[in-house]
């Protein structure tokens, strides 16, 4: 996504600003692993690590000050809290997922960072419906056919008492009028890993849209067949 944004941005830079021009030149050498790229990549990694750490820390505090059992019993109340306070939405959503996972004895949870737009699935009153809850990651801006984007998410399980093996699988993107973007057009890294106790694993999702991709809203599912609660809907909009 950042590359796409960067290219868009470059096209929009004002003419005649020599300092700005110099700065862009420094960032656009032929060698992709130039010093500039390395420095920016290092910086971005640091930022994303820190934001993820902040989300996890906030979540732990939130767990200390809310009654998790009560939340489990009354998910509607949880959703009201989420609606009341958008700032805490991601943390509380994590709690909802974690609490449900604990009850089911399953792994769960997705922390969505930076590039995402988290939409809450509606928790239902009973456990059957709870199984239907999935995180949603949506790219913020509409994409052009042929454009490539990268999304990020973290997988963590603070209810696990031991390491868990995760094997992520992906579906095609389904769009309007049965249009599809085949699963070969998107990749996850790493797709298989061992999630240690108290560990948050960062997942990179790289999507390259086909040049002939039709306009519309598309969704795909990222899931682990052996851990049914690990599932995330990936949403994009194509112009």
């Amino acid at each position: 996504m950042r590359e796409g944004k960067a290219n868009d941005a470059k096209n929009k830079q004002p003419k005649g600003s020599s300092l700005a021009g110099d700065l862009f030149d420094a960032l656009n050498p032929n060698d992709l692993l130039s010093n500039a790229q390395k420095v920016i990549n290092t910086a971005v990694n640091v930022l994303e690590e820190e934001i993820a750490a902040g989300i996890l820390a906030a979540k732990k505090i939130e767990k200390k000050v809310i009654d998790v059992d009560e939340i489990r019993d009354n998910p509607e109340d949880l959703m009201n809290r989420i609606r009341r306070d958008t700032h805490e939405a991601v943390d509380l959503f994590m709690d909802a997922i974690a609490a449900i996972s604990k009850q089911l004895g399953l792994l769960s949870t997705t922390i969505v960072k930076e590039t995402e737009n988290v939409h809450k699935a509606t928790p239902a009153a009973n456990e059957k419906n709870r199984e239907a809850i999935a995180a949603v990651i949506e790219h913020e801006e509409p994409l052009q056919p042929g454009q490539a984007v990268t999304l990020y998410m973290s997988v963590a399980d603070d209810t696990a008492t031991k390491s868990v093996k995760i094997q992520l699988q992906k579906t095609d993107f389904c769009g309007p009028l049965q249009q599809k973007i085949l699963s070969k057009n998107w990749h996850i890294k790493p797709a298989a890993f061992i999630l240690k106790r108290d560990e948050a694993k960062e997942i990179t999702i790289h999507i390259k849209l086909p040049a002939n991709c039709k306009a519309g809203r598309y969704n795909a599912l990222l899931y682990d067949p052996l851990n049914p609660s690990v599932r995330t809907v990936i949403g994009i909009e194509v112009l």
């Binding site: 944004k5 941005a9 420095v39 920016i40 910086a43 737009n117």
Partner: protein, 342 residues
């Protein structure tokens, strides 16, 4: 935007904020040992980046100066509180061309004044609810809470490195420390808060994280470079003071990576001394080594890369918004951050 116009906007927003700061400082005793001193640092005329970014971001997203003013006042009060405490922690001698507060008063008084400013910075946030309503006010309060938390964590990192004379740091360590210590409160949160206010909570503040981070890093590195090479009168602090204080700047970290074993030992020995026992001659030797090993060039390049990346983020975020003076102002600030000489 011409630099002169950008500077006049900085000045104007800074003056508006200063007026607000004065409004929130109680006019009562104890004046001599507290409230008169609370006025001191803000009155010295800082650059006003933080309140200006907040106000400009607010106006770009459709808000007004009045909407953002309480938050800008809070940001500036908290910033000045940080500066007073920072000067004590760093044992700095000068701030904005005048002796630091603990130098002309004493450490105990200065720390207490800093504490008072931290508390005074909270009231404008409470007052926000009159203008912005409960929901937005609470959101801004949490922004500030996060900002202060990150800043003290970043400061803790740097103070810890100095205390333990840590010498094997790398660029990632530096970037992490700067992100926490400087970027959140200098750029990221001012932009975020302004946009939250201007858009009445519709904008997702996370979109400003990279922009603010790149801007803040460019700003801090430039500040550290100026500490070594600027004109003292313009810069307002003692030149080379960061070397004497043992600040883990990008230049020092680079130098420690590139220097020969004997040089590294000499630097480590210098840094292990109490600040007041460090000699100017030795600091000059370290500055010379920085020049020899290309540490200053490395820092300048890094600042330029960061400013370039900030510009790209800026165009990505702001190009879809209608053109206005405040939008151009934010763009100019990015360029100014690495082009400034004070």
């Amino acid at each position: 935007m011409y630099e002169a116009l950008m500077k006049s906007m900085l000045q104007q927003y800074g003056a508006d904020t200063l007026k607000g700061i004065h409004h929130f400082i109680p006019d009562k005793e104890p004046r001599k040992y507290l409230y008169n001193l609370v006025h001191d640092y803000p009155n010295r005329g800082g650059k006003g980046f933080r309140p200006s970014l907040c106000i400009a971001s607010c106006k770009t997203y459709g808000g007004s100066l009045d909407d953002a003013l309480y938050s800008a006042v809070s940001l500036e009060l908290l910033h000045n509180a940080f500066l007073i405490h920072d000067d004590v922690e760093d044992e700095s001698l000068f701030r904005r061309n005048k002796p630091t507060m603990h130098e002309y008063s004493n450490k105990a008084i200065a720390i207490n004044v800093g504490d008072a400013m931290n508390v005074l910075g909270l009231y404008p946030l409470f007052m926000n609810k009159e203008k912005l309503g409960q929901k937005i006010s609470q959101q801004i309060f949490l922004e500030i809470q996060h900002m202060v938390t990150e800043s003290v964590e970043g400061q803790a990192l740097e103070l810890g490195w100095r205390k333990d004379n840590i010498s094997d740091l790398n660029d990632s360590d530096y970037l992490r420390m700067i992100l926490k210590k400087t970027c959140w409160y200098t750029c990221m949160h001012p932009l975020r808060i302004g946009a939250i206010i201007g858009s009445r909570g519709k904008v997702k503040p996370d979109i400003f994280n990279r922009l603010g981070y790149f801007m803040g890093t460019a700003f801090q590195i430039q500040d550290d470079i100026l500490n070594l090479v600027a004109e003292e009168k313009k810069y307002g602090k003692e030149i080379g003071g960061d070397i004497l204080e043992g600040k883990r700047t990008l230049m020092l970290i680079h130098l420690l990576q590139k220097s020969k074993a004997t040089e590294k030992n000499g630097i480590r020995k210098f840094l292990s001394l109490p600040i007041r026992e460090r000699q100017n001659e030795k600091a000059a030797w370290i500055l010379n080594l920085m020049q020899q090993h290309g540490s200053i060039v490395h820092a300048k390049n890094t600042a330029r890369y960061m400013a370039g990346a900030a510009l790209k983020e800026y165009y990505t975020i702001f190009s879809r918004l209608p053109d206005c003076k405040d939008k151009s102002f934010i763009e100019s600030i990015i360029l100014y951050m690495i082009n400034r000489d004070y």
